[in-house]
């Protein structure tokens, strides 16, 4: 692919070489797609496991090599043309071409849009200072790792998964860590209060300072770099580095401009059960997509990326295999393993199974009496066995769910 070669065209062109894009290419070959495949991403490296960035990679437990989704030779051996460092800026759905920042124009038979999102920047003065970092890409992480030996104070803005996972790793690596969360509890967007409070206690026990219900006024710095974070209550926290983990903005402008139907607030590109957008021969998968007739939100997970990519690859190859998604997620912090099955959207009741004090428990979410999700902390058995309850939206009495003497698989079998 080059700017001068206007004749470049792929039967399947995949934009975005993260997990969803890579998996789309892998799945296309697996289901027997015989056409040409282009996999074009804007990062300078081959596709890799993004979830590990804020965990094993930042901790130094895994090398980048171990994060590669496939070894470099895989792509050539499978006739996937992998192009790195090219950012798509426009889509012409009638000419069936994609335009890149470099000026290159590439044609497609089918287009798979898998660009994910870019980290949301904090809209305060100083938000773009040197030393204010996101953790979304290898490059982000490398900048932080490089600085680690010489930094002491880290302020993490945002008490979501990225923020808390980073805080745990940085604490273990000896940094002084403060997490600032605007809401009154951590993980507020994804979990209920007992789980939030449990994680808050754990972080505090590990020496992380948590400031809840506090906003950010500005980020302060000198010519070289960030020096501190000014809070809405006037306090200034010293900071050698600031990590901003306040979500992503989906990278979908070119598709919006091309006329693809998106959600009301442009939080994602609307797709059907075969991952088709409203544009002919244009599919959208991974973090930047929102399923029509689904929960109405982006599902930012490795599993979602994997399953949507596989569905789209099949659809492109003429195999109709509609999505049936029971989402699951995981997070590692310290020696804690949080595993979630299902989405708790709209829950009206929670049941605690086990005791947080023992550092092994589950929180079960019900909606109108039916099990819709479980958060399992160091409780893999519940996570595994609770899946069936979620799949069936089982109607189980709370006191039965809370009884740790009865395995969830036995409860599932009886319902």
């Amino acid at each position: 692919m080059s700017a001068t070669n206007a004749a470049t065209r792929y039967d399947a062109l995949i934009i975005g070489a993260g997990h969803a894009g890579a998996q789309a290419a892998i799945s296309l070959r697996q289901v027997g797609f015989a056409g040409t495949i282009g996999l074009i991403g804007d990062e300078p490296v081959a596709p890799y496991e993004r979830p590990a960035l804020s965990k094993e990679y930042l901790a130094g437990d895994k090398s980048f090599d171990q994060l590669l989704i496939r070894p470099d030779e895989f792509w050539t051996e499978n006739s996937v043309e992998l192009v790195s460092g090219e950012r798509a800026v426009g889509v012409d759905p009638s000419a069936k071409t994609v335009t890149f920042e470099s000026g290159a124009i590439v044609g497609y038979g089918s287009l798979v849009w898998a660009t994910g999102g870019v980290p949301r920047r904090i809209p305060v003065p100083g938000g773009d200072l040197e030393g204010v970092l996101a953790i979304r890409s290898k490059a982000d992480c490398d900048r932080l790792i490089e600085a680690l030996p010489s930094i002491r104070n880290v302020v993490v803005i945002g008490g979501g998964f990225i923020g808390l996972e980073s805080a745990a790793v940085l604490r273990a690596r000896g940094a002084t860590v403060t997490v600032v969360e605007a809401l009154d509890r951590v993980l507020a967007r994804v979990t209920a209060e007992p789980v939030s409070r449990f994680f808050e206690n754990e972080h505090r026990a590990h020496g992380v300072e948590l400031l809840l219900g506090v906003g950010i006024d500005s980020i302060e710095g000198d010519d070289a770099s960030v020096t501190g974070v000014r809070l809405s209550d006037g306090r200034v926290l010293p900071a050698d580095r600031v990590i901003v983990g306040i979500g992503i903005v989906p990278a979908i402008e070119p598709l919006i401009a091309a006329g693809a139907e998106v959600t009301p607030h442009a939080t994602g590109v609307l797709i059907d059960e075969l991952c088709r957008t409203s544009l002919a021969d244009v599919y959208c998968v991974g973090d930047c997509s929102v399923l029509r007739n689904g929960p109405g939100m982006r599902i930012e997970s490795r599993q979602n990326a994997h399953e949507l990519a596989t569905t789209a690859a099949k659809a492109i190859t003429g195999i109709t295999d509609p999505l049936v998604l029971v989402p699951w997620f995981w997070s590692h912090q310290y020696d804690l393993r949080l595993q979630t099955i299902g989405l708790n959207v709209g829950y009206d009741q929670t049941v605690l199974r086990g005791t947080p004090e023992e550092r092994s428990f589950s929180l079960i979410y019900l909606k109108e009496g039916e099990v819709i999700a479980l958060d399992c902390i160091n409780a893999t058995k519940d996570y595994v066995q609770g899946r069936r309850l979620v799949e069936r939206r089982a109607r189980v009495e709370p006191n039965v769910l809370a009884d740790t003497d009865t395995a969830l698989k036995d409860i599932a079998a009886a319902h």
């Binding site: 499978n78 699951w328 995981w330 893999t380 058995k381």
Partner: protein
């Protein structure tokens, strides 16, 4: 090291492994895509389930962790020699290992 993996279709393949990577990664990297490994080796799914058919003499595989046991127990195809291939690291002593990919749950 070299190992042999038998696919669900019964085809046995010899794979030259990269030491230090997991057995799951080495199987996948060899072009066998039926091992989904959806969580990428994070002990959060059981889609890299294999049966260990032969371990080189004098070598013991690491014990299963509680999490690995719990995940495997959810499989309808659990056997005594079931393992999650993401939990086994390829190393020279394991040369000659033979595994079979378990059926899909």
């Amino acid at each position: 090291m070299k190992f042999t993996v038998t696919t669900r279709e019964g085809e046995a393949r010899d794979v030259e492994a990269r030491d230090g990577l997991s057995l799951m990664q080495n199987i996948r990297n060899s072009g066998i895509e039926e091992l989904h490994a959806i969580c990428g080796g994070s002990l959060s799914c059981a889609t890299c389930h294999v049966y260990v058919e032969r371990v080189p003499a004098g070598v013991a595989l690491p014990e299963k962790s509680r999490d690995e046991r719990d995940l495997l127990e959810a499989s309808d195809f659990l056997e005594d020699n079931s393992r999650l291939s993401c939990q086994l690291t390829c190393r020279p002593e394991l040369d000659g290992l033979r595994v079979t990919i378990a059926p899909e749950d």
